[in-house]
Chain length 334, copies 2
């Protein structure tokens, strides 16, 4: 089934209002869930909504709390998320980072003690819509072994790079450090299908494409094996050092479920760059070259990062957002 975006938006607002969020917060949070769903990121949009309400009901997300600035250091601010609604903390923090970038050329915020920001890419799009390039990442609770280890100790720590384009079809990478998300592994397991490439270890300790085996071992594979493991550790320690918050293993140890996490947002304003005002076209020329390159399969387009999300957005705006009937029914009951 498909649900019209406005219907979904209004439904989310009603539910969030019923949980004690004020009108402004409800609208902003609902918009984040709807926009992620429009872009096809259902796992962090409509499909995630019931779990967020559950976290509100359990008091893990504290809807009466507001984030606050711990320290101002010129173009850098340290923000305490105060365990408020994660996607609101992140949106407000990105607003601040953009403001800092407009003033200083580059600006950044480091956030500690916050909740899950939902779709990481949302903040890359937000920056790009303000004509800024950005790097954003979050740490997560331990969910992947470090390279050479068995227990899930490090996080999959999604990172975003965004590059603005004048036509608003921005370049946005949004990726976790694991080859596949647990959501994807679960979906393929339910469909009884193999993953397209190795996604983790089986119960015998061998690399496997069998999602069911990876669910058993809880040993997903980092992208690029040792490389993604190293990158994940660095992202975690970087964010924790600058924000002053918990690392993935400490979130696991001290919270056991995923809250009190860290995020980094680094933003560069492109509007004052002399070379762009002179009409530099290198980016557009490069995208054209990538799109027209010789393909492995002539029927399968080569895509630049963010292209699929933009196209899905146009489609879902017109046709409505695809939703699993059971999930939508459960939302209607919230």
């Amino acid at each position: 089934m498909r649900i019209d975006k406005d219907e979904m938006f209004n439904k989310f607002i009603d539910i969030l209002l019923s949980r004690g969020l004020c009108e402004k917060d409800s609208k902003e949070a609902a918009q984040n869930f709807v926009e992620s769903s429009l872009d096809g990121m259902y796992s962090h949009g409509v499909n995630r909504f019931p779990r967020v309400i559950d976290y509100i009901d359990k008091g893990i997300i504290k809807v009466d709390n507001k984030e606050f600035v711990e320290q101002e250091l010129g173009a850098l601010e340290i923000i305490n998320g105060n365990l408020a609604m994660g996607n609101l903390v992140a949106k407000h923090s990105m607003d601040r980072a953009i403001k800092l970038a407009k003033k200083h050329g580059i600006g950044a915020v480091a956030i500690r003690n916050t909740n899950h920001w939902m779709r990481a890419g949302a903040y890359g799009w937000q920056a790009a819509n303000a004509n800024c390039a950005s790097i954003c990442w979050t740490n997560t609770i331990s969910n992947m072994p470090a390279w050479g280890g068995i227990e899930a100790l490090i996080g999959n720590n999604p990172i975003v790079f965004s590059i603005p384009r004048e036509n608003k079809e921005h370049i946005v990478v949004d990726m976790a450090m694991s080859q596949f998300s647990y959501g994807k592994i679960e979906q393929m397991s339910l469909e009884n299908k193999d993953l397209p490439v190795y996604g983790g270890y089986d119960t015998k300790g061998n690399l496997t494409k069998n999602p069911n085996e990876i669910e058993k071992t809880q040993r997903p594979l980092p992208i690029g094996y040792w490389k993604g493991s190293a990158l994940s550790i660095a992202l975690d320690l970087f964010a924790s050092l600058i924000a002053g918050g918990l690392t993935s293993p400490l979130i696991k140890e001290k919270c056991n479920i995923e809250y009190s996490i860290c995020q980094m947002m680094i933003v560069i304003d492109s509007t004052r760059l002399n070379h762009l005002q002179r009409g530099n076209t290198n980016i557009e020329e490069t995208i054209k070259q990538i799109k027209k390159a010789r393909r492995i399969d002539s029927n399968t387009e080569i895509r630049y990062p963010g292209e699929r999300e933009y196209k899905t957005r146009l489609e879902n705006k017109k046709l409505g957002i695809p939703v699993n009937q059971k999930i939508w029914d459960s939302i209607l009951k919230l």
Copy 2:
């Protein structure tokens, strides 16, 4: 054979002086080559030295040129490398970025029209030694197909994340977006050994561990397949947009060999962070947990990024730097 670091340093200075670099430049450049070699990064240290001299002799690296600031935007500076010696441009630019970070909390430089900076990690260590966290990356000439494509169109664009530690055993990730460097592929091919995991495509279009096949197809594999491809494209376009320089495909098209590339350096000062002054120990606790995690192979340590380089440095300082006899002989003749 092993060569004492001071002997190597003095030899490099002599050769660089003979190519017209001034004394200060010769010392700084020589130090970069020696330090990378000390850390075990021979491919971008001693082994690379002859090629750099060749580039100087051919006029690709212009030793009389100096980099200059194109634009100052507060905490961000745009630098024109002016096709000067790449590792000098990068070192001086990192000095500037550190200064900006000390003043504004965060600082950044975007460099265009520069030459290869040799070992990417060098600038991460430089930042960390100044008590700063950093993100640095460079683009390269086209050397890897985008996901779904056949021709080598995108770069492998190495990225660095560095996190300072009080004991100076910093956390430094330094990795290209390809699963293996061409250097590693060549080495394994010469040794007639398979790569430990898939490293690219064979002549039949299948994924292969055979390095010789990958040399034939020139189709190395990005880390995490589609993920590393997307990341590579984003890093290239980000640096090109902010620095105003060429992207990987445009370097290939306009230069044919690797020069006039772009680099980004983003630096955050850790010395004024209140939470660190209060003695936050999250980083050290986390490293301990990673080190003591249960291992796949009890004889194989789990390492944090940068650990091996630090240990190799201690060893090579004591025992001398391992050098291939033929390479050292060729250097003595330069």
